[in-house]
Symmetry: none
DNA sequence: CGATAAACGAGACGGTACGTCGCGTCTTGGT
DNA sequence: ACCAAGACGCGACGTACCGTCTCGTTTATCG
């Protein structure tokens, strides 16, 4: 029952994925070439093409296979604490030296790259679904109205962080984060 | 005293810029090549390289030169109306057939491309400064507290729209927009 | 055991060589470009660069591969006859419609082009060594002194023809050839 | 009566010619570009094109204008001495550091470059005519038969040297030169 | 255990685009 | 009238990866 190789991948899939993410971090999306992945992972170019149609697909597979997209769902006892923890995790993802280039790259390529777009979409959808319990706990605690829209709350919070870091290129301070969380929470608390 | 050509650009700059944006919309960022710009604009490749070092620079110049980044600052009489108008304009920009491919592609590519990042940064900074009167009017009307942070409000609103359309790939309905505006406004209205 | 392709050359080497010599004859040395060779031979430019670093190398290989540099060593029974045959062959090479443009161009370019110079040097060295039997037969027949220097004799004879055709641009008549052969032979016959 | 500028040339012709020959010696024929001549001579590219159609023409004019092609006709008192002096001068021209690259270059380009070919042809023709007195003196002294062909003698001698240096890439020793002169002289002396 | 099919290594190839160089033409403006 | 300055179209350069394609050589699974 050697499960070492999943269906639909080459024998050295792990080496390929590792090389892919290394190179992506080192040289950026454009510096990431199939040939460099092949060379770095000690695999022949043909082998990669046998399994994936293009470098985006390799990258998508590498991301899914990696734990870069994994994140712990917080449970601090209060919605404010949970949202703050999430906001900090997002900020971390977008600024940490190892993850920032990868995440920026994937999002940049996503709009025109179905594979990467699918990864992003799936990631965010799954994330939202995993956030549901957090909001249900908050409702149970009376911290949130039943009518509140968790997706919108996360859009506002996560969007502000993404927007500020990637597009406005402005720092995201702890104060900014707590201010944004407060604003959104108070806004959601107000009756419709 | 024909001042027809600004300093630092080729004679057919306009044709080059037009071709650049057309091709960007048609083929996406990676499909946009210097040779295709040259061919489409009826200009020689060499001429483009004489003036810009890389395609990002051409693209940045084309964006600055275009009116895509122009936008009217609303003045509806209420902050809610103004923010809603802005939110609609942003949504429009990101979804309209002519602008969406260009804007989405540029914004997506910006984090990895210094020139494009600079354009985005400048654009958003200028935009924010032009939004100041809108917030000052709201404060004068008593719709907003003096302590409110306009930048954060715009980050939340614009970020949510951008995030939802480009990353989560979800529709942005009029109800969603007004809901988001309300949430943010009520959140900002609550005391700190 | 198909030995069809010699080591160190592309699969369509012959087509490339043929195109190279054709184009050299048609357009001269400077008009001979890698791109034109690629186009004419139906091979991609990249393929040529994969195997040769520059056009001189292609040209050198084409020359070596061709039979332009092949020549039959005469054996007419007398040194005078042999030298006359050689002189005629050289003249022919430098004036015949098919060979003249190629040979003249190559010889002219040789001094400035290491690869071509090497081809010329090798060719003339090999040629001289193949001429040795001719001179030995002449010595055996008593037509030539043992002290005579075959290399000098050939330098004088070949040099005169080459000089006259390529540099002085003057015709080389049969009378001129036999006159030159006679002069050299009689000079060589005289005691030192 | 300022004759400083000949008809059909720009004001800075001398600077252009000097730059041309310098660059030719420094960088070879291919490294000699119109743009580099213009830059070195402090003249605009346009000016050069106004007067000469291509770099060959500039080079031809520069050579004619220079004294590189000048040579003194020897008069040593004997034909053998005169020929030896000529042979040494030719060898010098082909091997001296300053002249060798220029001469090799011109001859290399000549076959396909009418301007340069004309320069070469003119040079050799004029040279031969200036050699006539040398042969007439020899005939007057009884060193040479009336029937001897001076052109052929010079073809053999000069051709051997050119051939040996440029094509066979072999050294030309003093012994070689005197041997060649002796051989040719004795051959010419023998009756037809 | 040995056949056989999948996976792989090696690398030549056609192709697109890159960014650069020098050519020769042209226009403009200044002596 | 001549020239400096320099933009321009053009052709070729040599390079980098792309994705495709044989062609043998492992592997590893199964009869």
């Amino acid at each position: 029952m050697s499960e070492e190789r999943a269906r639909g991948g080459p024998r050295q899939a792990s080496a390929i994925f590792a090389a892919t993410l290394e190179l992506l971090a080192e040289r950026g999306y454009d510096g990431l070439t199939i040939e460099s992945i092949a060379s770095r992972s000690g695999v022949n170019k043909t082998t990669i093409y046998r399994w994936w149609p293009a470098k985006d697909a390799v990258l998508a597979a590498a991301l899914v296979h990696s734990d870069l997209l994994a994140f712990a769902m917080p449970d601090t006892g209060s919605l404010r604490g949970d949202l703050l923890a999430l906001a900090r995790a997002i900020t971390q993802l977008l600024t940490a030296e190892q993850t920032a280039p990868i995440v920026a790259t994937v999002l940049a390529a996503a709009p025109r790259r179905p594979e990467l777009a699918a990864v992003a979409r799936t990631f965010f959808a799954e994330r939202l679904s995993r956030e549901q319990p957090m909001f249900q706990r908050a409702i149970a605690r009376g911290e949130l109205q039943t009518t509140a829209d968790p997706a919108m709350i996360m859009d506002l919070l996560a969007g502000a962080i993404w927007f500020r870091i990637l597009l406005r290129d402005q720092p995201v301070s702890p104060d900014y984060l707590s201010g944004a969380v407060d604003l959104v929470l108070q806004g959601a608390a107000a009756a419709h």
